[in-house]
């Protein structure tokens, strides 16, 4: 118990003093997850909206696949991306394995189905509400996608925050494709795993606290977005 408190005290010292190693790991984690989210949003939002508004043969099957990918184990995603990026893989020539780019790709692959599936559900409810009105304006199903994405902007912000939360808390995928190389691909989750196994609890606890704070901030941001959305619509928030 004593060592836990000591570790926590030292961890706070590390955070308070902006320890170089700690800051480097936190910044890389944020950078990787942020870019992964950008790619996931660029693909997932329009894909989700398309599946919500456009009827085509096989749509239900496609949605089922998407929902299945939503729950895909992270290590499996890591393994697949590893196989793609390894020297003998189809993307091996780019030499991306064990780089932050590989981690960005892996996290993007992991959270794109989540962003797309949740976006589809969100946009679908807006589509049901606006469909007749937009058609009355002469706007086609595909033409309605930008409008629906904009109308659902508050709800979709929460979806993106959920995606970011999943990406930054993920360990298996980035461990496989990043390799947890010091100063290169070491992010918070992989560093916590490594430092704990080495018995270096100070850095592990400090990183754990930062990760918890980020998670808390993401949740607070979600609530703020929802409150803002309600205020904009004249709905009292509870």
């Amino acid at each position: 118990m004593k060592s836990l408190w000591e570790a926590a005290a030292t961890a706070f010292d590390l955070i308070w003093s902006f320890d170089t190693a700690l800051v480097e790991i936190v910044v890389l984690s944020l950078r990787v997850s942020f870019f992964a989210l950008i790619f996931a949003a660029a693909i997932g939002l329009p894909l989700g909206a398309f599946l919500a508004v456009k009827s085509f043969p096989g749509r239900s099957f496609f949605v089922a696949i998407l929902n299945a990918l939503f729950g895909l184990p992270a290590v499996v995603v890591g393994l697949l991306v590893y196989l793609m990026l390894s020297r003998t893989g189809p993307l091996g020539i780019f030499g991306l394995l064990y780089t932050p780019a590989a981690m960005i790709i892996a996290q993007a692959v992991l959270i794109t189905p989540l962003v797309a599936a949740l976006s589809r559900q969100t946009v679908l409810s807006f589509h049901q509400e606006y469909d007749e009105q937009l058609r009355s304006f002469g706007i086609t199903a595909l033409g309605s996608i930008p409008t629906l994405l904009w109308e659902a902007r508050f709800s979709l912000s929460v979806v993106l925050l959920a995606g970011f939360g999943r990406a930054i808390a993920e360990v298996g995928t980035v461990m496989i494709v990043g390799g947890n190389i010091e100063h290169v691909t070491r992010v918070m989750t992989t560093a916590i795993a490594l430092e704990t196994s080495k018995g270096n609890l100070n850095l592990a606890v400090a990183l754990g606290i930062v990760l918890l704070l980020i998670s808390l901030l993401v949740n607070l941001a979600s609530q703020a977005v929802t409150a803002l959305s309600n205020r904009w619509q004249g709905v009292s928030s509870s």
Partner: protein
Amino acid sequence: MILPLTLENASYLANGRELLSDLSLTLSAGTRTVVLGANGAGKSSFLRLCHGLIKPTSGIVKWHASENTRRHQAFVFQRPVLLRRSALANLVFALRANGVARSRHKELAEKALLQVGLIDQSAQPARSLSIGEQQKLAIARALVLSPEILFMDEPTSSLDPEATTEIENLVNDLHTAGTKIVMSTHNLRQAKRIADEVIFIHKGRMAEQTPAEEFFNFPKTDEAKKFLV
């Protein structure tokens, strides 16, 4: 001019059930046509069929001119469907969708808001307005497009008497300005106040299309007589 609108033996089926049967009629410019009928008679489906939101399963719905007919029409729904934007932005959206030059958006939108008495609320989030104001905004969004024909599906059904009167005044203003009004209601008193012509729908079929005075005083069908009692 896209009017008159002609329906020839138009029917509409949904889930194996015939919601509209064998409708043949003409909607001409100039008059305020009120569509009457009991709940579930098919009034909303009729308006949607005319506006093109649903396609006839059989028969024909034909405008006088065939090009860009949608740009000359507008539809006000029973419950206003407003975008999560300011009142002004809702009107600008409609103008942009209708292909109106960007330079004219603000001027036209403000003029329409002034007309419905919502100019002071132009920057307010549309969905934070009262239900009566929201319906007035929906009408402003329709009239800003200067439609040749305006369909209105029971636009006052959830409004208080004061808001209802305001909406009816707007309808009459639009009529005076030359817009063809086609409005459904199950409120007989409102129909008497507004209608020049009545289309009476019973169980998906058109029972009567007659001048309003004749319909209210000398209904031809038993269904209409029962409805008017």
